[in-house]
């Protein structure tokens, strides 16, 4: 707790003091955290291997997935160490795994978002009450204004340039949405100050594993 308090206070003070050594604290501590985090990754990796091995040994339901985890982990580590210092260079086995295995899988997960956005929108945009109807209308104008067909259809009906769907969409995002986001961010900033102060003063001790 004393370490937390001292480091917390030092970090607040260093923001206002340009003199050495305060001007270097941010960089030093960031480096130290990166080093500790990098070393700590072995704890996570070993935990993952242990959990997976136990599931395979006990033949728990879905034990095939831990087999894939262990095989993938071992293969990646082996190839990485085998390639040596230049394991990230183009044409290496590690690079091949990155380009032909990791990247497609990652892209696939990211692409799922498109479908999930559609399903979430379908559920959320219902005119159940006044606020929900407002949300529905705003979503309609933003979606309509973001696609070329919006302005094309509006043009057919002779809608003035100043209230074209694309302009309305931009206005909703830049004015109404931005105002809401900024209000939330002000609250978040105050929440962070309050939580940080509680941690520095030792009132909040979750980072130490609880009360």
């Amino acid at each position: 707790m004393a370490i937390t308090a001292i480091v917390g206070i030092v970090f607040v003070i260093q923001y206002f003091i340009p003199h050495y050594p305060f001007n270097n604290f941010n960089a030093w501590f960031s480096d130290w955290f990166s080093i500790i985090g990098a070393c700590a990754i072995w704890l996570g990796a070993l935990n993952l291997m242990k959990i997976s091995a136990v599931k395979i040994y006990r033949r728990k339901s879905g034990w095939g997935y831990p087999v894939i985890i262990i095989l993938s982990f071992v293969a990646t580590v082996f190839v990485g160490f085998y390639e040596g210092d230049s394991f990230r260079d183009l044409g290496t086995g590690f690079d091949w795994m990155y380009r032909h295995v990791y990247t497609p899988l990652s892209s696939t997960m990211f692409a799922l978002l498109a479908f999930f956005v559609a399903s979430a929108s379908y559920r959320a945009f219902r005119a159940r009450n006044f606020e929900a109807t407002l949300l529905l209308l705003a979503a309609f104008f933003v979606m309509f204004g973001r696609v070329p067909v919006g302005d094309a259809v509006a043009g057919i009906f002779g809608i003035p340039e100043s209230i074209m769907p694309s302009r309305v969409a931009v206005w909703i995002m830049n004015v109404i949405n931005s105002a809401g986001q900024r209000a939330i961010m002000i609250g978040i900033a105050l929440g962070i100050v309050s939580t940080s102060l509680r941690i520095i003063l030792g009132i909040e001790r979750a980072h130490l594993g609880g009360d």
């Binding site: 923001y15 985090g37 996570g44 959320a124 939330i184 978040i188 309050s194």
Partner: protein
């Protein structure tokens, strides 16, 4: 061919090179600059001197000044060396290569030159008087951040005042947070159905305040699951979070007198990769079909992937994050969402500890001050009376 002079015409060259002789036209030498001021650059960590001067009277559009050269020496009578230049129209220069404690002298020369195809045909200049000595040094306070300093002191004072007020027994009113009121129901539902509770503490590491706020809530939720003998699973994205979360859950179980019921495997590491983590969580949701899911921490693009999958299996979902861009996804997909600061207030809300509730009141007073400043600034700036927003600008 280059001829550099200080207000002189070029001497004639060898007759064989007559074709390349360039004569400097008369009257092209600019008037020298005046009032050079060299001083230590303020609000920095040393190593810089700030120079300003009055521009040459010839420094106008189409005038006789193309640039200013800056020369420096560490003694008044020593050799002056060029250290940089600025284009015409400028009247300031930052010398970032000084050594603290060493006195420097400066000369600024106004230069007029003619270029053709990138080659300087001729150049003339006029030197200023020597300015100095100036010495760079580091400052102990950055006065550009005085507004942040005052704001920090103010908000911390509010929070500390209300913490002490709460400790002295003063009753503090906190409004209901729907998401937190439902924690009991969510865990109870999982208990009745004989299913698991999942707690996802976000994908950032322990250096993020949102993760710490999430783990604080984990402690409270873990106490409930320990009391109800419900299995809580905490798959994490970072190793350090795994260590801390494990201690938090273990402590929570011990607190309610059930240390034997705690299993280390309840908190386990998955992967550091964002979408690998999302894929793993989705797989767990589909296979194990938890009855209640909590998302408390920092989330990014993976938030909707996990929340929609949780929704598809019929789990009751309570989310909280400080990422404004992810809040709409959680609002659409989850049953309850803690918006912004509610995530940081949740631990105080659940524990009802006076010191924690006091800090919430202090936070609220800070918000009230900002609200007043917003309204005041809106009026003052709309009528062009005073630019209040300048008081809130931050220089990094």
């Amino acid at each position: 061919m280059l001829n550099i002079a200080s207000g002189q015409e070029a001497a004639p060259q060898d007759t064989t090179a007559l074709d390349s002789l360039v004569v400097i036209p008369p009257g092209v030498t600019p008037v020298s600059v005046k009032n050079i001021v060299a001083r230590d650059n303020p609000n920095d960590d040393g190593g810089a001197i700030y120079l300003t001067w009055d521009k040459s009277v010839d420094d106008i559009d189409g005038g006789k000044v193309t640039r200013y050269n800056i020369l420096r020496s560490d003694s008044k009578d020593g050799e002056f060396v060029e250290i940089g230049d600025v284009a015409s129209g400028n009247n300031e220069f930052y010398d970032n290569s000084t050594e603290d404690g060493v006195q420097y002298y400066y000369i600024v020369t106004a230069v007029n030159e003619l270029k053709e195809n990138g080659e300087i045909l001729w150049a003339v200049s006029s030197e200023s008087e020597i300015a100095g000595p100036a010495e760079s040094s580091a400052q102990w306070f950055d006065f550009r951040r005085i507004n942040v300093f005052i704001g920090t002191i103010l908000i911390c004072t509010f929070i500390l005042y209300f913490i002490s007020a709460a400790k002295s027994g003063k009753k503090l009113y906190i409004r209901k947070i729907a998401g937190m009121e439902s924690v009991d129901d969510a865990v109870g539902r999982a208990t009745e159905m004989g299913k698991k509770v999942f707690f996802i503490p976000g994908i950032n590491d322990m250096d993020n305040v949102q993760t710490i706020a999430g783990l604080t809530i984990l402690g409270r939720v873990a106490q409930l699951t320990a009391e109800y003998e419900t299995w809580i699973e905490v798959p994490v994205c970072k190793s350090l979070v795994m260590i801390t979360a494990r201690e938090t859950v273990k402590e929570a179980y011990a607190k309610v007198g059930r240390p034997d019921a705690f299993n280390e495997d309840q908190v386990h590491y998955v992967t550091d990769d964002q979408f690998g983590y999302a894929a793993a969580i989705d797989g767990m949701f589909v296979r194990e079909r938890p009855a209640a899911v909590f998302y408390m921490g920092a989330f990014f693009a993976e938030s909707l992937i996990m929340a929609e999958t949780g929704n598809s299996i019929g789990a009751i979902q309570i989310a909280g994050t400080g990422q404004p861009s992810q809040l709409p996804f959680f609002v659409a997909a989850c049953d309850y969402t803690l918006i912004g600061e509610e995530l940081f207030a949740a631990s105080a809300y659940l524990s009802k500890e006076p010191k924690l509730l006091g800090s919430l009141k202090g936070q609220d007073l800070g918000k009230a001050v900002i609200l007043v400043a917003l309204i005041l600034g809106l009026i003052l700036e709309s009528f062009n009376v005073f630019k209040l927003s300048n008081l809130f600008s931050v220089i990094d």
